[in-house]
Symmetry: D2
């Protein structure tokens, strides 16, 4: 497996859902940056399980222990490793899943690739739980980026067919982003909250699940961030986004909709706003030629419905080599989208920090 | 700039639209593989300009000169470098574009990032022309993958609002893929050809442009290709896809549509098809947990309408620091989608070869 | 800092001498390999401090806690992270070393590079203690390599001017390598033991230190390991060797002595030994053109005398900006060579595993 | 093969001794740097063959054609690719070397590793000729480093047993380095010139060859260059040095000799030289903890005698599977050291530029 990512900062991730601990080693961080453990904890809580009836009942405090790289509360320049102990593991729930493949999970291809040696309990290294260290790293990245006035925030663009408003592509007030972080259902239009909760809980009651789309914004980023040909900002964000389990699509700016417009409709015209060059529209989501153009960076990520559902499903038993039926037990999220919002923010922050690292 | 990509094979790309030559150095290819220069030439012609009234009038033969890495017609294991001379360059067309920024192009952010030293002629290193070396590398990758029964093919899923049929997600006959390569408008449903051509030519007559979506399929790939956590097959393909100019979105399987389904609708049930495990549906596009599951790999790529249009556009002059209007001259594609089909196939082949390299 | 190394396996190291823990995350290990914690512990003890009067009195059990990547005693293919808690830290010993630079240590350049934010206690991330995780990773690498009959062993070639015998360059019995591991002073000629011990203890009594040379051998490696142009086996081993603090030189085969020979003396003639091709001499240390040639791989590493000595030294106080004198307190090794033997074996094993990874 | 090297700048090398062209693609160069083609040509001539009776009679002009990355005489930030055509190839000289392995060359291990598909003519990709692109890249790196007052120069420390003087480790006047570049035998003590020439020509007359040691100095480098744990300056230079064919050893500062000293003799004491911190000795070669300390960086590289000699040698025929005798024909250097001086300077410049890239 390739647990390492990054060019300037390097992330090295580890852990399994039901192992001793999960964690991440971050190499290449700028020196002398304050590490605010309470701020990190708040970010971790945005992803942590067990906080509401919209999410899995598994309880994990997800307090990160920092083992290295911080001295007197500041980054030293040496690799910063943080670990999170797994506490509330009920591995017995998973014992029968060694041979019976859960549909839409990694179980079957992982079993083939790793010749049956993979830790299948709770999906092992493929578990969504492995995104917790990403949130930790993302919290550090965000606090470093904030120094330069860069803010990152995301909201639930949709759950199933229920749509939130979108960010204003031209101008996003930073208080909008701050406010979203405080909400348990981060929406621009809070009127949609009840509807979305109802959709999630209905699915839960049916033993089913729903998916959604997350829209993420980055504001305050200067012109020229990105490293083409191969490390465009879009490539960098997309690479990390597709490491997050359940992500099945990404688009920048108007994305797929852009493919239906004419050039004269799609192109973002420039004008001088005082000394500053701005665009009148932002269909390209703040990225041209793989480089930021000074407008808000905007992208959408599609999250599939949680694969683990209680409803009976057709599947196979690879030991008996026969078709079978499966009812997944254990504790699962009826909708992963709410907890994934902070993960998507984290990957945006990490992508940006990697490309901008020399500037801190 | 980061002109290098890959873990096992390593691509190192170079060149500008109006420089001496463009090319690519490919390191890490398996040894003893036949290099069929005519097959490569055929692939290059699928992307080459100047072949029809649907594309730019710039004429480039795009014949690749292989400088190294091949001996007696076979790969030696040493790096294989191919170069393509630029012939039909009319750099004067671009002289006024040094200061007047073309909307939706890299001109403005590149000028800031590279402090005005970038080669602005024809977009320089940001030109779509730089995808020609990718097609060359992709042609080699495809011929190596073919050894293991892997085939890659793509079609135009849509131009503007005109939709082709989609691939059958469960089973794609390899003759379908072969046939697509022979078509100048690669469609599953050829009845849409006249409509699409008309849409492109209408835009051209208006001095405008259109975009579209390309759907790509990979068949015959074994179970378990991908290298999570960070180098999932989706991450690897997406990373390369967003290096291709004009790509603004990517989705795997049903992608964004998947976010609207319930788990019970989205999950792909398993069953035994004789000895082989298959899924009844393929909403996940053949990839689970970042690994192939043995079903056809399917993904869609959104291409924005060509940014270069003849219609007047509002923009800025960064030398005079004032707003201005721009009418882009030169020879441009009214729709880049047709020529991009083989580029998307190429990046799929390269992503796959990189992840599978040890097996050849 | 760049805490990540490797192409196929990827090491990500972390920790400071006086921080919470040191450790390493190893990504890309082959799957299904048995992890023998007792064997690992034995290897760790070969490097651990506090075992004799030849080494520092700091006592660390150096028991590794494996957090991930192992399930039912076997590697899972997921990243394997091991951590070692720091126990016997006396950080107060180091308080005055914030400003007074220890000669021949990283203190001064690190303080400049990391702007004073580096953890200076015990050298922080620059401490020789950070080689403990390398030994852990090396122990795993060795046990994997053993599967293919590859053995790695090293001995003390010299301490100061006292020389051990050298390995027979043509044939090294594997029992020789096994026996060395059991010795507290790993020598081929045990008659030199008393002399060497005396030299080390004399230096200790004078408040001084000595250095030496370690010779390392790899046997049983097949022909063709190495990945030129840039990742020759020599480059790969040397890269890792110079990560080890106190290493100041490396040579393969006869190395520097080879520069004094004529081609007719230096060249290793081939002959058929039955079916197998062998060389009559092995001046090149088993590596030609960066690739193994089937003969034992042999290299020497020069270790400088421990920089920390009790004797008064001239140095500077960077806070007061004046010259000063320094007497280093704390617990230090009069000679690091003895404990470094297993570290050099470890880097040889890791270099080899990285280059051979696809074969396991 | 791994033809790619570097973290911040990335080198991608290609070519064979008797192929169409050799070259290098350099990615990540700073922008706006003047490219002086005549300066490059002068550097190339220091390595080029056919210039004197001390070197091979093969004549190659080694004029580099720059294909990309330069616009109006300055670097654009896009990858810079330079190629060198092979002209004076006499491939027939090598026809019998397909099966008869030249001792101390890569022939045999390369034939095994690449299954006989490698281009064996003149050593193919393993030829010393592949260092020409390194010299090209090095010339560019040097001119960029010069901006910050960094100078790099090397001399022949020894040929066989004839020794030149060494650099003054404490202070090296930059005119010393400039003067060395003009000499055909770059020596500090020109009185040794006649002796060394005689030693080389004697070997040539005997159909034999000699080796030597090159000492390289870097002056004017600031404190703190290096990226530990794994990318120390020593690791970075050593990695590249062992890519150069015929290099068998490297040592920094006093290197192996240091292993014989006591700590009190070896340690470099600090003092204030005005505002600046300096060391009284420079046994560590300007590098501590993998970081520069502001003193001249000094290292020695051992070059083995040219493997190709005319004298009869015992070897094997791998086609007939029998022992045989070989007399190597063709045109060869009786001593590669003279031409390697500029190669060693090049790798020093490239290592430094890679580690310092963000500063330009």
């Amino acid at each position: 497996m390739s647990g390492v990512w990054g060019s300037n900062i390097k992330l090295s991730i580890f852990g399994e859902s039901h192992g001793g601990a999960i964690g991440i080693n971050i190499s290449g961080l700028p020196v002398g940056k304050a590490i605010d453990e309470e701020e990190i904890y708040k970010e971790m809580q945005r992803r942590a399980p067990g906080r509401s009836n919209l999410a899995t009942a598994r309880k994990e405090e997800d307090r990160v222990e920092i083992l290295s790289g911080v001295f007197n509360g500041k980054t030293t320049g040496a690799p910063l490793c943080g670990i999170i102990r797994n506490n509330d593991t009920r591995s017995k729930d998973y014992s029968k899943l060694k041979d019976v493949m859960r549909p839409s999970h990694s179980d079957y291809p992982a079993s083939v690739k790793y010749k049956g040696f993979n830790d299948y309990r709770g999906g092992g290294h493929f578990s969504g739980r492995i995104t917790a260290p990403l949130v930790f790293a993302g919290a550090i990245a965000k606090s470093i980026l904030k120094e330069k006035g860069i803010k990152i925030g995301a909201h639930i663009k949709s759950i199933a067919d229920i749509e939130d408003e979108e960010f204003n592509p031209i101008y996003i007030d930073s208080t909008v982003l701050d406010t979203l972080k405080e909400k348990d259902l981060p929406l621009i239009d809070d009127n949609k909250k009840a509807l979305m909760e109802h959709r999630i809980l209905s699915a839960k009651m049916e033993g089913d699940s729903v998916g959604g789309v997350i829209q993420c914004a980055i504001t305050g980023v200067e012109v020229g961030v990105g490293d083409p040909f191969f490390d465009s900002l879009e490539s960098t964000i997309a690479h990390l986004a597709f490491s997050v389990p359940a992500v099945k699509g990404i688009e920048f700016g108007k994305g797929f909709e852009l493919s239906k417009l004419k050039g004269s409709e799609a192109n973002d015209s420039y004008y001088y706003e005082g000394e500053k060059i701005a665009t009148k529209t932002n269909n390209n989501g703040g990225i041209l030629g793989g480089l930021t153009n000074g407008m808000p960076v905007l992208f959408n990520v599609a999250i599939k419905p949680t694969a683990s559902i209680i409803k009976y499903q057709d599947t196979v038993d690879i030991d008996k080599k026969e078709d079978t039926k499966l009812q997944i037990e254990g504790r699962h999220d009826p909708c992963i989208v709410t907890r994934a919002v902070v993960v998507i923010e984290a990957i945006a922050a990490l992508a940006l920090l990697d490309l901008m690292e020399g500037e801190f």
